[in-house]
């Protein structure tokens, strides 16, 4: 074990290289660039033995990963914001083809209004593509989640692509220490990739051929079942990784001081980490409030949120908005509660466009929700 003091991007790259993908295909985009540059450095030093394909766009990056994965290779890529959006068609493709591609996405604002700071609209807008989606809150969690992502994606009950999201700059470009286990630990944990289907000239099949409604229907249902399976496997794999490495960041959610809480805050990503400080402050003031940081939004942890709704009222912070509707976590948490719980849910839109969200802001939002002065969902910190 060694300590690596580095940025989220470089620690993510380290994890990807240690998982030994046979093919990495990537196209640089701010703020993901330093992640793929780091992988290129591993290639230059001869420490990464796989194929590294420099492609001409993100659409091609995902297409190359799909081709490599269909040929039976473990694959990895990374992108951000507009790059992720350019992949959109191929994201559906990878998931429908049941190819366990692993990708890091650095959450960045979508233009116009050219802006490279953090918000989560990029990956949130891809939530219906069939990819499993994690959101990290520290560099250690990025390392551990990338390793777990390979194990999960390639599991026979899953066979779906997995996206590991990390917030632009707050994580991607901020140095924090992370414990890096021995290569042998990662090898033993992830194992050798055994494809669940592949293109093989000795066993020829046609892939992506025409299929009628009755078959297509089954393909969609099988994806849904795989996502449901992930609800059991994500906690299992997180527990197994804890045994192997000592690190645990929660499973579908990370619960922080939820015992006896009458109010529970739901948040994601870096705001989730900042929320812990806000919870400490409010608990010191005698308020019964806890935090449930949502690590996984697909599959959506509806049962867990329902359980929280039986215990407490919910306060939900979204660093995203589905325009014309609501913040997506707020919207889906309420859907989970429907008919099962009388819990009150109050939502906040915060931190869009990279606007800073400090623990003090989080505390202000929570207090507003708890004293009933907040609207059902409001825009926090809007300066007119």
């Amino acid at each position: 074990m060694t300590i690596m003091m580095d940025t989220g991007n470089r620690i993510g790259a380290k994890a990807a290289v240690m998982a030994k993908p046979e093919v990495v295909a990537a196209y640089p985009i701010t703020p993901q660039t330093t992640m793929v540059e780091a992988i290129a450095e591993y290639v230059a030093r001869g420490e990464f033995k796989g194929e590294y394909i420099c492609v001409e766009s993100e659409h091609s990056a995902m297409s190359a990963c799909i081709g490599a994965s269909a040929a039976g290779s473990r694959t990895f890529t990374a992108t951000s914001s507009h790059g992720l959006l350019l992949m959109h068609e191929m994201l559906h493709w990878a998931a429908l083809a049941r190819l366990p591609v692993v990708m890091c996405n650095i959450n960045r604002v979508i233009g116009p209004g050219w802006n490279i700071w953090v918000d989560e609209n990029d990956s949130i807008s891809q939530r219906d593509t069939g990819w499993i989606q994690f959101y990290c809150s520290s560099n250690q969690e990025i390392f551990d989640t990338v390793i777990q992502a390979f194990k999960l994606a390639e599991h026979q009950k899953i066979v779906l692509p997995v996206m590991v999201n990390l917030n632009a700059f707050i994580l991607s470009h901020t140095s924090m220490p992370a414990e890096i286990p021995e290569q042998q630990t990662v090898d033993d944990f992830v194992g050798k990739y055994v494809p669940h289907w592949k293109l093989d000239i000795d066993n020829p099949i046609t892939f992506g051929n025409i299929i009628g409604p009755e078959h297509y229907y089954k393909v969609r249902r099988a994806m849904q079942e795989a996502q449901q399976n992930a609800k059991q496997l994500i906690p299992q794999i997180a527990k197994d990784w804890k045994k192997a490495s000592g690190y645990f960041h929660g499973d579908l959610l990370e619960y922080y001081k939820c015992e006896g809480a009458e109010h529970i805050l739901l948040s994601m990503g870096a705001i989730g980490a900042e929320s812990k400080i806000a919870i400490d402050e409010m608990q010191k003031a005698g308020i019964k409030i806890g935090l449930a940081r949502v690590r996984v939004i697909r599959p959506f942890p509806a049962e867990e949120i329902r359980k929280l709704g039986k215990q407490a009222d919910l306060i939900i912070i979204d660093r995203n908005i589905s325009i014309g509707s609501e913040g997506v976590l707020f919207n889906e948490a309420k859907a989970a509660l429907y008919g099962e719980s009388e819990a009150k849910a109050t939502g906040f839109i915060a931190g869009l466009g990279g606007k800073d969200v400090t623990y003090k802001d989080i505390e202000t939002m929570c207090r507003k929700a708890m004293n009933g002065s907040a609207k059902k969902q409001e825009w926090y910190g809007m300066e007119d």
């Binding site: 083809a97 099949i205 051929n209």
Partner: protein
């Protein structure tokens, strides 16, 4: 033939996996065996494998699966294949 457990759009080799696609045809290739010089261009170019090659290199057309694309007629240097509109059967 090894089958995979994953449910996605995988098709295993067999004759006519999509049914008798010859029903899609609008134009039908008609082969004049007297003109045919056994050059096998039609056999090479047919995208559907619907031209059958015999041991003596003579050819025949499998109308169960020929979709009537006309590539064989286009490629035939001696005009041994012509395309005719499929007749609609009168009641």
């Amino acid at each position: 033939m090894k089958k995979f457990a994953v449910e996605t759009s995988l098709s295993y080799p067999k004759k006519g996996a999509m049914g008798k696609t010859g029903s899609w045809r609008v134009f039908k290739p008609i082969l004049d065996k007297k003109k045919c010089v056994k050059c096998l261009r039609c056999w090479i170019f047919c995208p559907e494998g619907s031209i059958h090659r015999e041991k003596d290199d003579s050819v025949s057309i499998d109308y169960d699966f020929c979709k009537g694309c006309g590539i064989c007629a286009n490629e035939c240097n001696v005009k041994a294949i012509i395309m005719e509109r499929e007749e609609v059967k009168k009641k």
